[in-house]
Symmetry: D2
Subunit: 283 residues, 4 copies
């Protein structure tokens, strides 16, 4: 028995679910789970279907070829992913290790629906951690005066890892627009605030200055607009007047790592579809 995940996004139309489920049935496959969502504002329909097939099913190649005809007629954006094929994860980090260590440990314990293929950093600090977990480490320093060239090197390094998903685990550098566009919907960032509060730098200090009673973290896709990409997951934790900005930073680290791991896992399991600047998360 093999499992595939069919993801569909298309303009709303009459009989969509019937058409797709009938198609799956006719190809001797079974629907194990299905999620639908109609975005009433944009009149777009979203579907995620887990399809089970066995040796007696018609080959998945046929399935794909045949389905593309339906897809075209409904103007679908779609993908069919084999659940047994691990996505290649590239982690990009800087000096902070809490998110990177947490992801590496999850990878090592086979908890991620993907395979960490490398850690790329502008600092050397994470090298030892990566080597502990037998994950290739690559450093590309980003200099103040050599930023353009360094970013090009970094971009090449990303490409060389052939990632299916790039995780910015507190990378702290702004990603070049070309890279954002090339890996559109495939770069995931953790921002250390509850967006849209405290976009940009030093969110914990600003949270402390503002006297908020909850701080948070936001896992989102990266676009060329800083901290404004589609949000996948958010979480908060309670703070009080006795917590300094530094306390908040420490408390926030737990929220960051949990939120990033959760958002990444949704992505790896093909649970996230993007609709303009928002996400549909079928969980």
């Amino acid at each position: 028995m093999s499992t595939h995940r069919l993801l569909i996004s298309c303009p709303d139309a009459h009989g969509l679910v019937a058409k797709v489920s009938q198609f799956i049935f006719e190809h001797q496959c079974n629907i194990k789970a299905a999620h639908h969502h109609l975005d009433e504002v944009n009149k777009r329909f979203f579907m995620r279907i887990e399809i089970q097939s066995n040796a007696f099913s018609r080959p998945i190649k046929d399935f794909k070829a045949n389905f593309s005809m339906i897809a075209d007629s409904y103007q679908m954006i779609w993908q069919l992913n084999d659940a047994s094929v691990s996505k290649r994860i590239l982690i990009m980090g800087s000096k902070s290790s809490h998110c990177v260590a947490d992801l590496l440990h999850r990878g090592h314990e086979s908890e991620l629906a993907g395979n960490i293929v490398g850690v790329l950093s502008n600092h050397h600090k994470l090298a030892k951690l990566a080597s502990w977990y037998d994950v290739p480490f690559k450093q590309v320093t980003i200099g103040v005066h050599t930023k353009l060239a360094d970013m090009a090197k970094m971009t090449q390094a990303v490409i060389d890892f052939k990632p299916d998903v790039v995780v910015l685990a507190r990378y702290m550098q702004i990603i070049p627009e070309a890279l954002c566009q090339h890996f559109e919907g495939q770069i995931i960032n953790i921002h250390h605030s509850f967006l849209p509060s405290f976009v940009g730098a030093n969110p914990y200090q600003r949270a402390a200055d503002r006297g908020v009673k909850l701080i948070g973290a936001t896992c989102h896709y990266v676009t060329s607009h800083l901290d404004e990409g589609p949000i996948i997951e958010q979480e908060v934790v309670r703070v009080n007047h006795a917590n300094s900005a530094d306390d908040m930073k420490k408390m926030g680290q737990d929220v960051e790592k949990i939120t990033l791991a959760k958002g990444l896992q949704y992505h790896l399991q093909d649970r996230v579809l993007i609709c303009h600047n928002k996400t549909v998360v079928f969980n």
Copy 2:
């Protein structure tokens, strides 16, 4: 345009979704939203489909008649509810007013997907509140030595209200088994603890004695086993050493009323299916 909600529970079978969605399509109806769940332990499939039909659709009577044939062949337990028909809600309370007042206010503001048709209580205290909201109030006192006869009167009173759903809003009396069975899956209780912690009486006192750091409330269907029916919704709130049992009672009241309102709303919107002693909540 009218909306119906089709709820299905049946043994898992090949082609179920295709069959049902094809049927809906053939009856010129549209699927507005759909949720599926396969209980892998019990090999049962659950579906909730919001169906939109218009004046040109074939009459819903035909739909029902034709669908019953499919339903039979798949051994479905099913219902088709017209979303425009308000469910009749009977609230049963005692002396505590927080849940009753909250529900009455929601009813008054048309926030509930149902219509509160009465308040039934063993005490007089809630009479004024009910009259404020123009909701019929009925008192059936439950005496210590006349319990059997009083419970029979109460049971008759419940039946007279012709409720679709009975809400025990801190009613504090054990419901007779016959009544539980007659309204199976239609009586909703709010228990003032995070079940299965603190089943039975005085949960806040026992929570304070145990020194827990979170207290909670549980909204569940009533069965003849006290506090053991299928759970619909649960919520918690943080407490600390400075909170007495009495503080916890006050803090818990907010959790109780929110959790009850949430669980009731899910029920009213036909989002809850029961599977043995558990619920599937499509929200």
Copy 3:
């Protein structure tokens, strides 16, 4: 036995706690509870002490007179409040009733550490609700072209109620600066977003547009800077892609009313001290 609450804010100094607690001891009073906080950024010290005294204690008038000498020498801002004296609460509302109804019910059930003396509104809608709870209702319409004069009338109406605390329970009008200043630290607002996200109008629509995964509410003191006053309490609730702006508004109402009631109660119990634009909440 009577209970007083001593609130102190002053520049940090050596021996403060010893001085104050020695003073209390010498006046034959007992410390029932005490909270301290040192704001390390502003080098300010905050204290809240619950003091128990009995018939044999020296009169509280003496206590006050004598304490003012210590207070002066340490440049203290301080107050000594008799816990048995209820604060006078004025609720200001508009068309939304969820917060007002919730507060009125809490007042009616004696759950608030204060006494609701009136409901003031620019619309008539809340009149019936107030009369149900036997609370005086006053309407001051705010016209588009008569705003200045109407605001003056409203200001007079507020003053006439002689409130100790004014609660903006979704009042939806900007409070004149003079009123803000006159009742500095005594006007509490509930903003229907997780500040500093979505300052200003239509936060639920903007939250839906941004695709956030949590929405919230913020209870804060009102200053002349819109939605920027010291935050007392914040709370959030999870939302997802299926929730429209209208759903969020409904879900948010529960968060608003709970958060407002919690923040107000802290204020009524003298648990909140203001430090620049932040609060110290001793709870």
Copy 4:
């Protein structure tokens, strides 16, 4: 400048705070932070005071000697801990690595107010992880038929590590009563349920069977009564019908590690006092 933490528990008495704060003042020390709690049920008073002293202060030895006289007269249980002296942490684990890895990483990043001196396990699996973090690893296998002798070896191993606190990071073996008593109030366990729900084995399976909507974890001191010791911290996470017992186990692991780390940190910072079977946590 050095910081000490004075922890006091004693029968409630008149003038306690005055006496203690006056004493601190007279010893030329300053109160940086203070927390009080009166347990009204047990009429016991609890205090935690952070004391700052400098080179000009009278030696801490004098402080201790003099304070013991006050302490005796008030029947205090007390301790005075130098904040600069790291507590020795012994981690005991088994096969699950999530909590152990999380603690080791926090230790490595100097986030814990203590020093991890060893990992003790009945299995070999954690050896590599410990060696990565340069922490001594010791294995004491617990055989089914040699349990008594093996437990004695394990007990000796614990003693040999000279721990100030023993952390059962999913150790999965019942600790001998003698060890519990010897290290009373110094052994911290993480139980993978929201106690008192699901005491004992397989809590995730039982949570799934019961159909709860929230699962949790409990960090508590170990006593000879299984899962019934004083609770330090609890946390929950939302689950739904689609989550299997295995999903819950994975989701719960994040809650376990965060809750354990939080509870341990409170202990390391001398924020926890025990009162019968409950804790006072000054945070």
